[in-house]
């Protein structure tokens, strides 16, 4: 029996799964806990509706946007999870960090930068390019508004092709976070045509 060739979408999902596994490992290391990948899904950018992806809750969340050429990423923590991750990450420097304005947003921007770099490393290897993340931009508010804000960057340029939604969970302190990857058609094409070897974690 011949095997059906993998679709570009299946290749991208596989690549993203490999990347978000590394994100979960980094999040675990920096929060002294275990994080698992709970959900990975891919949808067409044209049909993306923030309410469908993120629900309609008005609960406050901490979001961080990071861009790359041809795409971008959102990391979103619910308020309580963000607070707990912040405390765990800053254990060694708790007092000076407490004095920072917007403590959680500032800390979670750095946390997001660290974990998304693990995903970017996998994508860079796959497409044979160097990918440098832009500086993290904190966005606070209901999850739907955070996503809307990120989507606006792409829909204005009419470039968004695919959105990948990922949920990470930790049983260690009952928390979760959402990762959203935005890919334009050119980046999607590059990634789906260039599966490479895994990047060794340093």
């Amino acid at each position: 029996m011949s095997q059906e060739p993998a679709t570009p979408q299946a290749l991208i999902i596989k690549l993203l799964e490999r990347g978000v596994d590394k994100c979960a490992q980094r999040l675990g290391r920096l929060s002294y806990s275990t994080w698992n990948v709970d959900t990975v899904s891919l949808s067409s950018g044209a049909s993306a509706a923030p309410g469908d992806l993120m629900g309609a809750s008005n609960e406050k969340h901490f979001g961080t946007f990071l861009g790359i050429p041809g795409g971008g990423f959102l990391v979103i923590f619910p308020e309580k999870s963000g607070f707990l991750v912040t405390n765990r990450f800053t254990l060694s420097g708790a007092d000076p960090v407490d004095a920072l304005p917007n403590r959680e947003s500032t800390v979670l921007a750095e946390v997001s930068n660290i974990i998304i770099n693990a995903l970017t490393d996998v994508l860079a290897e796959a497409c044979g390019k160097t990918l440098m993340l832009s500086a993290p931009e904190p966005i606070q508010g209901p999850k739907k508004e955070i996503l809307q804000s990120a989507l606006g960057r792409f829909s204005q340029a009419g470039k968004l092709a695919w959105i990948c939604y990922v949920r990470l969970k930790t049983p260690t302190f009952s928390s979760h976070c959402d990762l959203v990857a935005f890919l334009d058609s050119e980046l999607f094409r590059l990634l789906s045509g260039g599966q490479g070897p895994a990047v060794p974690e340093g």
């Binding site: 980094r26 920096l30 060694s92 000076p96 920072l100 800390v107 750095e110 693990a118 970017t120 160097t130």
Partner: protein, 121 residues
């Protein structure tokens, strides 16, 4: 012998954590900077034993800061600290004269190990 260290990072959180980790081990942070201009001025004013440098600052590329520091002082010892573990980037940074490369997240032991080769006592 305690090291005199300069920390270049646009994240106040990273600057605080690095500073706390090295101070606990008896080293001294003599300057902090979050930009190319600030890094060059602080380096000339303080002549640190070693610089820790973030790779991606808000408005500047850490690679440019590494090059500028090395142009200012060929003996400058710069340890790049970044979440980026792309092999091409690490190769490029090493070729540009970085004395070390530490991948985030790291703990105090990792940081002190990266700095230990510069201790003279």
């Amino acid at each position: 012998m305690p090291l005199r260290i300069m920390v270049v990072d646009d994240s106040p959180v990273s600057r605080i954590l690095i500073t706390e980790m090295v101070r606990e081990a008896g080293h001294q942070v003599v300057a902090e900077a979050d930009s190319l201009k600030g890094a060059l001025e602080a380096y000339q004013a303080n002549k640190p034993d070693v610089v820790t440098l973030d790779l991606a600052l808000a408005n500047e590329d850490g690679r440019a800061i590494l090059t500028a520091l090395r142009n200012l002082d060929r003996q400058a010892r710069v340890v790049v600290i970044s979440g980026n573990s792309q092999s091409k980037v690490i190769d490029e940074i090493t070729a540009a004269g970085a004395a070390g490369y530490l991948i985030k997240p790291f703990d105090q032991d990792d940081l002190l190990r990266a700095l230990s080769r510069f201790s003279t006592g």
